[in-house]
């Protein structure tokens, strides 16, 4: 009897221990966000998408039963804080993957994450992050553990150049159209400058010297005058938020006739609402449909959105949805890792390569089919191009084109 009691007690304690072990079956994901720094205008929306998606995954069974522990740190775009947070997560929390944000922190962390084998899913779409092996001579540093969901800044700009070439023909334009890069002299707007100018030239554009406007809102009439005097037909805007608004307003005052096209962060409903009257036929790329889309995957997006907006009142911009896609690709790579040796950074990376033309389950029609390989981290080579207008309080946005880019080897990492 005594023995059986002892056995029972032992069994119970083993059971309790294993339950505790099971309860502790969690992996940690770090999340760096800019919610109060210079890129907070879009950073906050993107971060909300990631946070809601992580919380939703956790609430609905985690990674095949493994809970997701995560922490969001607002690093306000300060590199030292990003590094400190990364180190803290790495050593204290045994982070297996990270959702990152900007160009500065992503680049600062490239060496650390490759050494520590921690995949980073950032929102910096710089072309050189797409070359994991450093094959292209333009690639400064191979980034084997860096991933992002979407086309690179260079590829988006190339797609816009293609659209512009088509548009010029449709409108019956004569001669060589003029193409100008507009943006701050800063790594983010500059990222696609050279690559895009080369392609625009290849497409027959007369590429003008770039026009520099600050990232902060201001009076850009002087720059608009130089756009006017150079006779620019197509202007690619590399900035975001406030400076786009200021540019459009200044150029309307000056009376330019430029078809503006922006990068992925420079076009969304918030910009149209903030700029108001005067923003006409503004072209921008997206990687996801909009909030009012009927795509089947939007059901999941709306369910995820309720994590922080129980009433479902908020209209989320496409940056939010892109944050969800980024998280869900990571989630599925983690699931693959769990089935193939456990959720570790190296396995999550392998998980990213496991499938081709792949859309996360439940997000059909929302995330574009993506393929990452050991040699090519250009997940997406398709760019949806939209045109937006503001008419007396109404924002109308319509899709005008879908451009599928070739995967030229010389474009890898450039």
């Amino acid at each position: 009897m005594k023995l059986s009691k002892l056995t029972l007690a032992t069994l119970m304690s083993i059971g309790a221990l294993s339950a505790a072990a099971q309860a502790e079956d969690k992996v940690f994901v770090g999340h760096l966000a800019d919610m109060s720094g210079p890129t907070a205008f879009v950073g906050k929306e993107y971060a909300n998408g990631i946070r809601d998606a992580l919380a939703y995954i956790n609430k609905n069974g985690g990674i095949k039963g493994t809970g997701l522990e995560f922490e969001t740190i607002d690093y306000a775009y300060k590199v030292p804080q990003a590094i400190a947070s990364y180190k803290k997560w790495k050593t204290r929390k045994k982070m297996v993957a990270m959702q990152g944000w900007g160009t500065a922190d992503t680049e600062a962390l490239i060496s650390f994450v490759s050494k520590d084998k921690i995949p980073v899913f950032s929102a910096s779409y710089s072309g050189h992050l797409t070359d994991p092996q450093g094959k292209n001579p333009h690639t400064k540093k191979p980034a084997p553990y860096n991933f992002f969901y979407g086309a690179s800044y260079s590829d988006s700009c190339r797609a816009l150049a293609q659209w512009a070439a088509k548009d010029w023909k449709t409108k019956g334009g004569q001669g060589q159209p003029k193409f100008t890069h507009i943006g701050a002299n800063h790594p983010f707007p500059n990222a696609p400058k050279k690559a895009c100018a080369e392609y625009a030239k290849e497409l027959g554009f007369d590429v003008q010297p770039p026009v520099v406007i600050s990232m902060k809102p201001g009076d850009f009439k002087a720059q608009c005058l130089s756009l006017k005097s150079s006779g620019t037909n197509y202007g690619y805007i590399g900035n975001l938020g406030g400076s786009v608004m200021s540019l459009v307003k200044s150029c309307n005052t000056v009376g330019t006739d430029v078809q503006f096209m922006s990068n992925i962060w420079g076009g969304d409903r918030m910009i149209f609402e903030a700029t108001g009257e005067g923003i006409k036929n503004y072209i921008f790329p997206t990687m996801t449909p909009f909030w009012d889309s009927q795509a089947s995957g939007m059901e999941l997006v709306k369910a995820i959105s309720k994590m922080s907006d129980a009433n479902g009142d908020k209209l989320r911009p496409h940056h939010y949805i892109r944050g969800i896609c980024s998280t869900y690709y990571m989630k599925e790579a983690m699931e693959w890792a769990k089935d193939n040796g456990g959720i570790t950074g190296a396995n999550v990376k392998k998980g990213m390569y496991a499938r081709k033309d792949w859309v996360p389950v439940g997000l059909e029609g929302v995330c574009l089919p993506a393929t990452w390989t050991n040699e090519d981290h250009r997940g997406i080579a398709e760019v949806n191009i939209y045109k937006g207008n503001y008419n007396k309080g109404d924002v109308s946005i319509e899709q005008v084109d879908t451009v599928s880019l070739e995967r030229r080897p010389e474009w890898l990492g450039y």
Binding site: K44, R51, I83
Partner: protein, 357 residues
């Protein structure tokens, strides 16, 4: 004095030698040596997070000491220190990749290159001062930021620049634990150098220029020479700090070296104490640890169930940023002479204890 174990209650210094000693008492000297020896064992005790913070303190500290030599000791002003820090980072990476110079030599060379650039931008200091000089150095900040973004050959332009890890006899200092020793060595070396500089003839000339330039000139101190030299030394320090930063991260991007960084350096030396080497260190530690301390304070709330709701986390993010700003403002109001002054007051209190006056 320096042969005494304790500070005497009163000033009994009778020679310049006694007045100029680095360590006031034997006890302080032994404590410093012990602290440095203990610091050598830190990687055995602390994890990478703490080591990162220390590494940050060391590269920022070296650069901040440079600014303190310029602002605190010579009475000049610079709003372009962040850009010089960046120049050092790029220069070291450039020397290494373009000329295959080993990184150990690139770091001091980058210091000298930055010194040259700093002296070039410091030339107006010979003629202008105060707010005018502030604006001239502000221009240096923007010119250099623009240069980083354009000069592909030097900085890699938008794509940034690669910086190899420091390696010595085939051993690469590419982990936090190993780089910690590089940072510790650089910090101790540069701070001892800074202390000695201030005890030297040149250091005293800097102080004379700061305290009363007319008197200094009458005494035979060449104002132009020392103002320019101060710019040079200050840039040298920031160049070394920047180079360490570059080789620690392995990658340099122009985005990091904005005017905000320059202002942060100014905040460090003001909080720590202008014209104090010890104060520089205290200010840097304060500025590096404050956001982390705030983050962990905010983090405690995040641990709770309601704390991790997006609404609260957003609010907390702003509270954190505001609190950092608030602490800095409170410091400027209540402790304008910096942490070094507070430390001296604490020491004086105990020296005179129990008589408070």
């Amino acid at each position: 004095m320096s042969s005494l174990a304790m500070r005497p209650c009163g000033d009994f210094r009778t020679s310049y030698r006694q007045d100029n000693t680095i360590f006031e008492t034997q006890t302080i000297r032994w404590f410093t040596i012990l602290a440095i020896a203990a610091a050598c064992f830190a990687p055995l005790v602390f994890d990478a997070y703490y080591l990162t913070l220390f590494i940050q303190v060391s590269y920022l500290g070296i650069a901040a000491l440079g600014l303190n030599i310029l602002v605190g000791f010579t009475g000049q002003i610079s709003l372009g220190h962040g850009a010089f820090f960046g120049f050092g980072a790029f220069a070291s990476a450039w020397l290494n990749t373009s000329f295959n110079i080993p990184v150990v030599f690139c770091i001091p060379l980058a210091g000298f290159l930055t010194m040259a650039v700093g002296m070039m931008f410091g030339m107006p200091a010979a003629r202008i001062k105060g707010l005018y000089l502030a604006i001239a150095t502000l221009a240096a900040q923007f010119i250099m930021e623009d240069f980083f973004a354009r000069a592909d050959w030097f900085s890699g332009g938008s794509a940034g620049s690669l910086a190899e890890p420091i390696s010595l006899f085939g051993f690469a200092f590419d982990t936090d634990e190993s780089f910690y020793y590089v940072a510790l060595f650089a910090l101790v070396f540069m701070f001892i150098w800074g202390c000695n500089l201030m005890r030297s003839r040149d250091g005293r000339a800097f102080v004379a220029v700061r305290d009363h330039y007319l008197s200094a000139e009458i005494m035979g101190v060449k104002l132009n020479k020392y103002r320019l030299l101060s710019f040079g030394i200050s840039s040298f320090y920031s160049g070394i700090g920047g180079a360490l930063y570059a080789h620690y991260l392995g990658y340099v991007s122009a985005e990091g070296f904005t005017i905000f960084m320059s202002i942060q350096f100014l905040a460090m030396i003001i909080i720590g104490g202008l014209g104090s080497i010890k104060g520089t260190m205290l200010g840097v530690i304060f500025m590096v640890l404050l956001p982390e301390a705030m983050e962990s304070g905010v983090g405690l709330l995040k641990e709770t169930d309601i704390g991790n709701s997006p609404m609260l986390v957003d609010g907390l993010a702003y509270i954190k940023e505001m609190a950092i700003g608030l602490v800095i403002i409170l410091f400027l109001i209540f402790e304008p002479e910096g942490l070094a002054h507070r430390w001296n007051q604490i020491k004086n209190y105990w020296k005179c204890y129990p008589f408070t006056y």
